[in-house]
């Protein structure tokens, strides 16, 4: 199925959940409302025509201009039994879920794709998006007592950590040159 077909299928089934369809992007995606995301996710995984059973990646995005954060889910179909012919031109699909910067909450889909477990922990650690319903939401890459969410655009680099001096970036407001 093409992207347009999948997007219109979603629009029919989940009226109101699909906020935006962006077919002109190099990698097209749809934007889904955060509170409807788990049921859409379950549909994408279980619908026989789609069977998007492989969660490739969860990328977090800082949309500072719109005062929001987003999580971008990239999905694919992988045959989970030995098939003589590799499924060529398989389905791939992408969904963006947007949330407020101040109170960033997105329902977790770790129950739909167990692969989301670590990806969502990373998005929480580095971007500060809280995934409601995640079995074990805690920092995964930075230490447990790290302050702040590093990938946010307004992140201030630490001056020191447990006595070890930090970076020179503390003199700048933002590390981008």
């Amino acid at each position: 199925m093409t992207f347009e077909q999948i997007a219109s299928l979603l629009r029919e089934r989940f009226a109101g959940a699909v906020e935006e369809v962006v077919p002109q992007a190099t990698r097209p995606y749809v934007t889904v409302a955060a509170e409807r995301w788990p049921e859409v996710a379950r549909f994408l995984r279980d619908e026989p025509r789609l069977k998007l059973n492989f969660l490739r990646c969860v990328s977090s995005l800082d949309l500072l201009a719109e005062d929001s954060l987003a999580a971008v889910y990239d999905l694919a179909t992988v045959p989970d039994a030995e098939a003589e012919e590799v499924l060529s031109c398989p389905h791939t699909f992408a969904v963006r879920v947007v949330t407020d910067r101040a109170a960033a909450h997105i329902p977790s889909v770790a129950g739909v794709w167990p692969a989301a477990d670590w990806h969502e922990r990373e998005a929480f650690d580095l971007m500060g998006i809280v995934f409601d319903g995640h079995p074990d939401l805690r920092r995964i890459l930075c230490p447990e007592d790290w302050v702040g969410h590093p990938l946010r655009k307004d992140y201030e680099f630490p001056v020191e950590y447990h006595g070890i001096p930090g970076t020179t970036e503390h003199e700048l407001n933002s590390p981008r040159h």
Binding site: A25, D62, P79, L87, T92, A115, W118, D136, C142
Partner: protein, 403 residues
């Protein structure tokens, strides 16, 4: 017996109530493996909760090599970020470079000359061989066999000589860049590469005799850490870990990039024990032996691809001509996600541009990151000695896990 979840208090050594099983008092042990450990393939820490020798729960802790690659990606131009991609999966630098370069090229709409595509395939596959040699050598080392390590590194040095002749570096190449490759091949390189292919092909059978079918090795890895095909897909495994579970999925065939559709090669998958002469009895599809053996078979397929690519290598530019002077690329306000099949799994790059030369967001999806997430699920119920066998068969490189 009080149940304390390791995940909420991983650093405590707690006295458990002594339970009685028959007339033996048992007590649970908390064993900490890593982050400095000879068998954890880098700085991986696993906290094991064991009942004697049997592991009840294993919680991996990562992040000891978190080197802020994604923050750096938002501060540098794509061609400046290529060296950082090298250092993510440092054993397979060429493949990492290729992945990021392809993502940026797709975003910016750059068409790469055919010679560059062939060169990328050749170097990608040679790096696959080098990476699988490291995996083979270190896995032998984990299992207690020191000799395969020396054999593997002897052959790997030859591959690194070829790389050094082409780009000057042994490990962190930054050779496959946005638009093509940074340098063209030196004189006589193609012949040297063909010589290496002829020399190396019989060595793979030698390695199989040395390690793969060794009785002790088979005993330690067959039936250990079995991952079913359904589990593998659900947990996001890719690469040899997925193919070892019997799933014939390879991005080079399913979603080809850089002209892989031109080449003729097979995709090895895990097969059950006794199915033919080459698979020892006791092997189950999806166990550590299958994941390991898929890598050995992949080396043979890589040689096939390299030979075909060398035979058909076209002339022409090795990089988009205007990039020879200035590699700055304006990225549109658009996004792309592209995955390549690396030796350790599928590595994906999500690049979001904002109209300037510097990306707004670069996210790297490491194959090892997703492959490692299955550890806690798979290690339950096995013996402590099986933990290095499982980690070694997953073949993690922490640079890719932590980025």
């Amino acid at each position: 017996m009080t149940e304390i979840s390791l995940q909420s208090q991983p650093d405590l050594l707690v006295d458990y109530d002594r339970g009685e099983q028959g007339d033996v008092d048992t007590e649970e042990l908390l064993i900490n493996m890593g982050p400095q450990h000879p068998s954890t393939h880098g700085v991986l820490r696993i906290v094991l909760r064991c009942d004697g020798e049997m592991v009840l729960e294993a919680v991996p802790h990562i992040g000891y090599l978190h080197r802020c690659a994604e923050k750096i990606g938002e501060s540098l131009q794509p061609f400046q970020f290529i060296p950082y991609t090298d250092r993510m999966d440092y054993v397979a630098g060429m493949n990492q470079n290729q992945g990021f370069a392809l993502a940026v090229e797709k975003l910016a709409g750059i068409a790469v000359p055919p010679r560059a595509q062939y060169l990328r395939v050749i170097f990608g596959e040679l790096n696959r061989i080098a990476s699988h040699l490291v995996s083979f050598g270190t896995y032998g080392l984990d299992m207690g066999a020191f000799t395969p390590f020396l054999y593997a590194f002897r052959e790997r040095e030859m591959v690194l000589d070829l790389f050094e002749a082409a780009c000057g570096a042994r490990l962190t190449y930054s050779y496959l860049t946005v638009g093509g490759t940074t340098h063209d091949l030196p004189e006589g390189w193609v012949d040297r590469c063909l010589e290496f292919c002829d020399y190396f092909e019989p060595k793979i059978d030698e390695y199989n005799d040395l390690l793969s079918f060794n009785h002790i090795f088979v005993k330690r890895t067959a039936g250990v850490g079995v991952v079913s095909a359904g589990d593998a897909v659900r947990w996001g495994l890719s690469g040899p870990c997925l193919r070892g579970s019997g799933v014939r999925w390879d991005l080079r065939k399913a979603l080809p990039y850089d002209g892989y559709e031109r080449f003729d090669f097979d995709i090895p998958i895990g097969r059950p024990g006794g199915s033919d002469r080459t698979v020892p009895h006791g092997v189950v599809v999806g166990d550590s032996w299958c994941r390991y053996f898929v890598r050995m078979e992949e080396m043979k397929q890589s040689l096939r691809i390299v030979r075909q690519a060398l035979r058909d290598l076209p002339g022409g530019d090795h990089i988009v001509p205007k990039f020879k002077k200035n590699k700055t690329v304006k990225l549109p306000d658009d996004e792309v996600y592209l995955e390549v099949d690396n030796p350790r799994g599928q590595v994906g790059f999500y690049v979001r541009g904002d109209g300037s030369a510097i990306p707004a967001r670069v996210k790297a999806r490491g194959g090892s990151f997703c492959n490692l997430s299955i550890t806690s699920h798979v290690v339950r119920g096995c013996l402590i000695a099986d933990v290095p066998a499982i980690i070694g068969s997953i073949d993690v490189v922490m640079g890719e896990v932590d980025r």
